[in-house]
């Protein structure tokens, strides 16, 4: 019969009570699956579309035009001295990354129900891959932003190298919330109905259509508890030089994002072993 290597891979399957270790190493082991799921999500989201990847550009641009007409031109919302379209687009890029990643990861389990009941792999791979799939869109859309900045003769500040950090912050927040919602969504489909409202509410709580300078000084600490405030302010500061260096204020959003992510991970892991029974 088979001759086996001495370092044989042994799996112990047993009942686990309470909280579990995160075992993030498992995700690394399944990185190829993660890659294929990301690739599938991207591929499928543009399948059967006539415009294809052009949507990645069209969505932020259309939103920008809409917001510019309504808020910039009609309502005349101040924009810290920057042309309103570019003011809003700078915020829309990280926002759409966040919104898409959050929506993707929070529906990841429900969308992959058939996998949950039929195949084993670390379940974390699903919300992770759904969250990552949004990065391509922002990469494509950022070309438009660069074009617009060139058009308006705006040169990015030297702090432009901090952008990946702010993107990370947005992703962490999206994933943290997505982990909570995806597990809850499997239990209660109410989550699926409620999350668009959450996203909308969150958008108004983030300085996208308005500058954060409109928020009164006394509310600032509370306001900055929203990690997306940090992200958007960071983007504007690094690209347009408005609002000033967020500096130590960033500790708040980073802390909240980390708390969301960690609690999301543990919550997800705790419910993970019951996923197949809940579907």
């Amino acid at each position: 019969m088979t001759s086996r290597a001495p370092g044989i891979h042994t799996t112990l399957i047993e009942s686990i009570q309470g909280w579990e270790p995160l075992k993030l190493k498992d995700i690394w082991e399944y990185r190829e699956l993660l890659f294929f799921l990301v690739w599938r999500d991207i591929k499928v989201s543009y399948a059967r579309t006539a415009l294809g990847v052009a949507w990645a550009v069209l969505k932020p641009v259309a939103t920008m035009v809409m917001f510019s007409i309504v808020f910039g031109w009609l309502v005349k919302v101040p924009s810290d001295g920057v042309p309103y379209p570019i003011f809003v687009l700078t915020a829309l890029l990280p926002w759409q990354l966040f919104a898409r990643s959050m929506a993707g990861s929070s529906t990841a389990l429900v969308a992959n129900e058939n996998l949950i009941t039929k195949v084993y792999f670390p379940r974390l791979v699903m919300p992770f891959s759904a969250a990552v799939a949004g990065i391509l869109d922002i990469a494509i859309a950022s070309v438009v932003l660069l074009g617009m900045m060139w058009f308006y003769h705006i040169v990015p500040t030297t702090a432009v190298w901090t952008l990946p950090f702010f993107m990370m912050l947005a992703m962490m927040t999206a994933l943290g919330v997505g982990l909570w919602l995806s597990a809850l969504n499997l239990l209660y489909r109410d989550v699926g109905h409620a999350s668009p409202f959450l996203t909308q509410l969150w958008m108004f709580a983030t300085p996208i259509i308005y500058p954060s300078s409109l928020v009164s000084e006394s509310l600032r600490v509370v306001y900055w508890l929203n990690p997306m405030v940090g992200v958007v302010e960071g983007f504007r500061w690094a690209l347009l030089g408005t609002g000033g260096n967020p500096g130590l204020m960033l500790a708040l959003p980073v802390f909240v994002a980390l708390a969301l992510l960690l609690s999301g991970l543990y919550f997800f892991r705790r419910l993970e072993r019951t996923f197949a029974d809940m579907v």
């Binding site: 294929f36 996998l115 019951t274």
Partner: protein, 430 residues
Amino acid sequence: MGDLAIRVHDLGKCYRIGHRRRYKSFGEALTATLCSPLKSARAHLSPVANSNGVHEHDDTLWAIKDVSFEVKCGEIIGIIGRNGSGKSTLLKILSRITAPTEGYAQIMGRVGSLLEVGTGFHGDLTGRENVYLNGAILGMKNAEIRRKFDEIVAFAETERFLDTPVKHYSSGMYLRLAFAVAAHLEPEILLVDEVLAVGDAAFQQKCLGKIGQVANEGRTVLFVSHNMGAMVQLCPRALLLSAGKIVLMDKTEAVVSSYLSESSPLIPDVSLDTSSNPNSPMVLTRCQIAAGNESPRSAISVASGFQVRLSVLARQEILGADICIRVSNMLGTPLFTANLSSSMKGLAKIKSGVHLFTVDVPGHFLAPDTYSLHVGIHRPNIELLDVHDAILTFTIEESGSAMWQYCGRDYGNILVDFLWSQEGEAVAPR
């Protein structure tokens, strides 16, 4: 050889039925979920009733309980049991899809599980893309899929449609491609559930052949199927699950026959109320079906044949009456009719009183399927005395007929063993 591949110890899985989703509101549910560690602690302290006033331990169901067994490296074990006996739950626990409630299992080696073919196939992706995606989902490494890609495609016979989205595939092509990916999974331990219940007969045979090949390569296989013929052919040993427990683990032939003799939900013994037909001179009072001279049962092994036993009450002496049994398949097509008169060489005189008749139907005659039995008492071409349509239903179970690898009933309901012969030697083609 003596190495263990799987060790299962006192494994149990408990489901709460009707327990979840009874929360009044989302908020309440959210709190309950968050507090579940506390709730379980509280449940231990006061096990009488939960907040709904329902006894918490009443609505639990043990899908499997106290299951222990060991599988040696390179062994092929069949898992047999009726629907709901816990076969799938066992495989799901072993493939880590769901966690056990108690006990543990140790698995020594890389596990591949095949609980369904085509898991994760996406209609909008092409055949080629789905091979890669599905391979990754089943746990294959990218390099491994690339190496086996041509082999997979050749097995599936879908070369021409590789770059067509699979939603345009015929269901047969789709299944072939899906199985082809799965069949090229090369784990040390393979868990297979009922995947052969798909596709046409030729394809099923190909799949069986592939599984047999996997088996010959010395891999450890756990195989769940309702196809007893395939079971006997592929697995030297099998275990029988009933109501979540292992009833028997032995040589497959022994387990299959034990499985078939388990009491069946179909009723093999029907007693009739004769008052419903008071004026007829001759009525049926009881009808039984059994294998040979055994006690009545509805699941009959294809090899054993069966016996129909009829109790007939003649209220007076009758001349010129005949009794017949007719068997039809579930589509309602009559397959044969057996007349008492044909066996007795003519219509006999039947005295008044209760008569017992038995009809013996040989084995290897009816193909595995579900059939219904009809009984009629009549005076040929004159009158019907008592007729019972579909008085009972029985199944012929595959236990190694000549046609075992063709499940489904495409080949007909009658098993034959006709003589074939070849005239002369082969002639070179012109």
